[in-house]
Symmetry: C2
Subunit: 196 residues, 2 copies
């Protein structure tokens, strides 16, 4: 249908794909923020993005995935940041570094706030996020355990879960405060409250 500048070396297919993907993602985020997640049917997103429903589902397997901020990169950054910490750094310091790294990869304050707001105010999205979070925890377990002397899986899991819980509490408060202040400050406050 539409063919734009053909200067890239990547195949036309890839470029078209990427274009469509971005178009869908933007449309989805716009409609979600305008009318709410649950109130926005896939059919509408597909129509306004100019693709068929079938294609939309081929790009993004799930409605949740339309929220963007793909979980893959999230997990990679997290893992990388934590393992990049010096060996002398404690677990908590390493985890803090990971959390900070993840927050650093948001494109813009506004978009981050929009996404977070959506996430925090929609039960189904919240549930999905929590589930994904659990999978991250599993992936990070060995990394965290290695930084705790003679720790069991259970203990490492607990530490990890606590860190994530604080992250959640912090970002929730951040959203409730309309994005004012720093998330990391709140994160530190949470940890202090728990471990103090």
């Amino acid at each position: 249908m539409e063919r734009e500048a053909k200067a890239g070396k990547a195949t036309l297919w890839d470029r078209t794909r990427q274009l469509a993907s971005r178009e869908i993602l933007e449309t989805a985020l716009r409609l979600f923020t305008e009318q709410g997640y649950d109130e926005t049917p896939i059919a509408q997103i597909a129509k306004e993005a100019g693709v068929s429903q079938r294609t939309l589902f081929r790009y993004f397997g799930t409605k949740e995935d339309l929220l963007g901020g793909n979980q893959e990169r999230f997990g990679q950054v997290l893992t990388h940041a934590i393992s990049a910490q010096p060996a002398e750094a404690g677990v908590w310091a390493a985890l803090r570094a990971g959390v900070a790294a993840v927050h650093a990869l948001h494109d813009s304050h506004e978009q981050a706030l929009a996404r977070f707001r959506l996430l925090h105010n929609t039960a189904s999205l919240r549930a999905g996020w929590l589930e994904k979070r659990l999978r991250f925890q599993e992936d990070l377990l060995p990394l965290v355990k290695a930084r705790m002397a003679a720790a069991t899986d259970l203990q490492a899991t607990a530490v990890l879960a606590t860190a994530f819980a604080c992250l959640d509490a912090a970002s929730m408060a951040w959203v409730d405060d309309d994005g004012r202040g720093e998330i990391m400050d709140r994160y530190d406050e949470c940890l202090a409250a728990v471990r103090g």
Copy 2:
């Protein structure tokens, strides 16, 4: 319109209701454990329980609800146990009491294990549980905050989230260990790891 029907009448209706309810619940749990949650359609449960799909959905609004262990009582017990703790008891002690009280209301070891196993091994159920958990946290916030001197909402949330995270880690480990040992011991171990 509305019937004040507070008299403890025999109410054949109520009895039938309770009977059907139990029948459905048992059938559901059986089929879930036999073939898995996602692999068991509502239609099958309804048919084997001898009711129409429509009726099943009137009894339990959601497929998740068929897991039983209704969340209402759960929340009540939790709230009650925590507020029943003496004022001198710290937050952590009060929360521990709440957790213990909740675990005490399982009917049998086997049923509890079956439910937990299902919950633990099914992504969608896990997500749902996590969501419910979040709502409990919100309900308990004031109660917890009252036990923390000069605490902010954020700090209370963090403490609460940590307690629940430890509960999750503990019961997860308990399931992975086929129900051997005490959950509360693991819970304590988790908290020690975090706050130690």
